[in-house]
């Protein structure tokens, strides 16, 4: 192809009288073992791409994309974490010189200088020398940037409590849980104003009490907690007979499904839930 002065542009081109065979031509500037982009080089590149694609698919199959529980904007206790390629910025904002009153430093000034310098590199490093060792300032600044980003990312990963992070985001059973409102246990709960006051009318947690189905207590333990209280929960708030207390406790222990009376239904629900859980995992 004719290059440079007198070059014919594509829009200006005409079909040549004789068809040129598609053979590699000299790469006049750098003579050597050149080859045509199409099809020689592209075919080879595709082989590199295929190997890359296999690794990519293995990664995809081995590690499914994560999905935590649905966003709950009211859960202020959640420790946030951005995707890994923003961790360096996230970590930078934890240091004293870049946090609090100096947040502007960490959020704007330092990244601004770094990325601004990257953008303007051709004008900051104007010399014609291209070898890294012949332009020590540019090379060392880039290495410094690389090491900083690597270090910050490393520190961030190191300081993060990964177990707590996995736990706090876990999909809990109550994602699609429905309380069996026809159950005897639920009727008893509805008559207990002191329970509703903290745990909410739907038993899924309220002003100061947690979701009743989050914990894994059995009937006995639930009775124990209701009678004696636990943590901030006061003792002896239940009003009713022993039997009612037991029914309610069994209902709570059974994750809001009636434990007895309509056994068949409860079992069906249970097995369905189990099956769902199995597929979730």
């Amino acid at each position: 192809m004719h290059r440079g002065k007198g070059m014919k542009f594509v829009g200006d081109s005409r079909v040549p009288a004789e068809k040129k065979p598609n053979i590699p031509k000299d790469y006049s500037e750098y003579p050597g073992k050149t080859e045509a982009f199409w099809p020689n080089f592209l075919l080879r590149e595709w082989m590199v791409g295929a190997v890359f694609l296999v690794g990519y698919l293995v990664l995809t199959v081995a590690h499914p994309a994560p999905l935590e529980r649905v966003a709950d904007p009211t859960d202020s206790g959640y420790i946030p974490l951005p995707d890994w390629y923003f961790l360096f910025l996230y970590q930078l904002l934890k240091y004293e010189f870049a946090a609090g009153p100096y947040t502007v430093m960490g959020a704007v000034v330092i990244p601004g200088i770094a990325f601004g310098a990257l953008l303007l590199a051709p004008w900051l490093d104007k010399g014609s020398e291209r070898r890294p060792l012949k332009r020590p300032i540019a090379t060392s600044l880039m290495l410094l940037g690389f090491i900083s980003v690597f270090f910050l990312t490393w520190e961030s990963v190191d300081q993060h409590d990964w177990e707590a992070a996995a736990e706090q985001g876990e999909i809990t059973d109550d994602v699609d849980m429905e309380v069996d409102e026809s159950a005897e246990g639920y009727q008893i709960f509805e008559s207990q104003d002191s329970c509703i006051g903290c745990h909410g009318g739907d038993m899924l947690g309220g002003s100061s009490g947690p979701n009743m189905f989050e914990s894994d207590y059995d009937t006995e333990e639930v009775i124990e907690i209701i009678t004696n209280g636990k943590g901030a929960m006061p003792a002896g708030q239940f009003e009713g007979s022993e039997e009612e207390l037991e029914t309610l406790a069994a209902f709570i222990a059974n994750d809001g499904q009636s434990a007895d009376g309509g056994d068949a239904e409860a079992e069906e629900d249970g097995s369905e839930e189990e099956a769902e859980e199995a597929t979730e995992e």
């Binding site: 994309a65 529980r69 649905v70 704007v108």
Partner: protein, 223 residues
């Protein structure tokens, strides 16, 4: 038959020079890993583009199921992940591709930097490349919110707090991205629009400029 169709079109539209211009350029020895194995560093740019193509294709399939509103977003992703045939693979590819594209682009940037390829006459191509870097980071940031799960929501809250801390334009930038004071329904639809329309548009335009320039100037010579 195919040849005849091609000839018929070519006779009228003269399409041969279009593709010959792309196909008929020589690839010099110093960037060809078949000649020097160390030249594999020149593959990073191509692999970045390869992952970008996969991201576009997998993203197109994801939008066949994804619903960008706060009631259904999580449910649709959950359904896609657990019930749709191969949904897990498509979402997995999009998820891991987002990381791979950043890695490959980072390696490509380092290669271009350390071979001094950004120097005259290729300054403009470097600038376009850095802009592509920002666009891809933006795609990563906006895409992270879309599943609307806990980590998505709170990472966005933090990200927008950081944006808000910028002087002068901070408040404006936050409102522009969040669509209001609260991070909620408006934010999700906005991030969806940015992730699916605005940034990919910018990405394709910049990629076109990137490739046009490399084709026009040729690859930089050996060190």
């Amino acid at each position: 038959m195919l040849q005849k169709v091609y000839d018929w079109v070519d006779e009228r539209l003269d399409i041969t020079p279009l593709w010959r211009d792309i196909a008929d350029h020589e690839v010099p020895e110093h960037v060809n890993p078949a000649h020097h194995f160390s030249a594999f560093v020149y593959c990073f740019g191509g692999l970045t583009f390869f992952v970008v193509v996969i991201q576009i294709l997998s993203g197109m399939f994801l939008t066949m199921y994804y619903v960008p509103d706060i009631i259904n977003a999580y449910e649709s992703v959950y359904y896609l992940q657990n019930d749709v045939t191969h949904g897990m693979i498509v979402r997995g590819m999009h998820h891991w591709g987002a990381s791979l594209v950043i890695v490959m682009m980072f390696l490509h940037t380092l290669r271009v930097f350390f071979t001094g390829s950004y120097k005259k006459p290729r300054e403009l191509n470097w600038v376009v490349g850095v802009l592509l870097f920002f666009v891809l980071l933006g795609l990563g940031f906006t895409g992270y919110l879309l599943p609307w799960d806990m980590k998505a929501y709170f990472a966005t809250v933090v990200g927008l707090e950081i944006a808000e801390s910028a002087p002068v334009i901070g408040g404006f930038a936050k409102t522009l991205l969040a669509g209001g004071e609260i991070i909620g329904a408006q934010t999700l639809t906005r991030f969806f629009a940015i992730h699916v329309f605005f940034l990919p548009g910018a990405l394709l335009g910049l990629l076109g400029a990137h490739f046009f320039m490399i084709r026009k100037q040729g690859i930089s010579g050996p060190l």
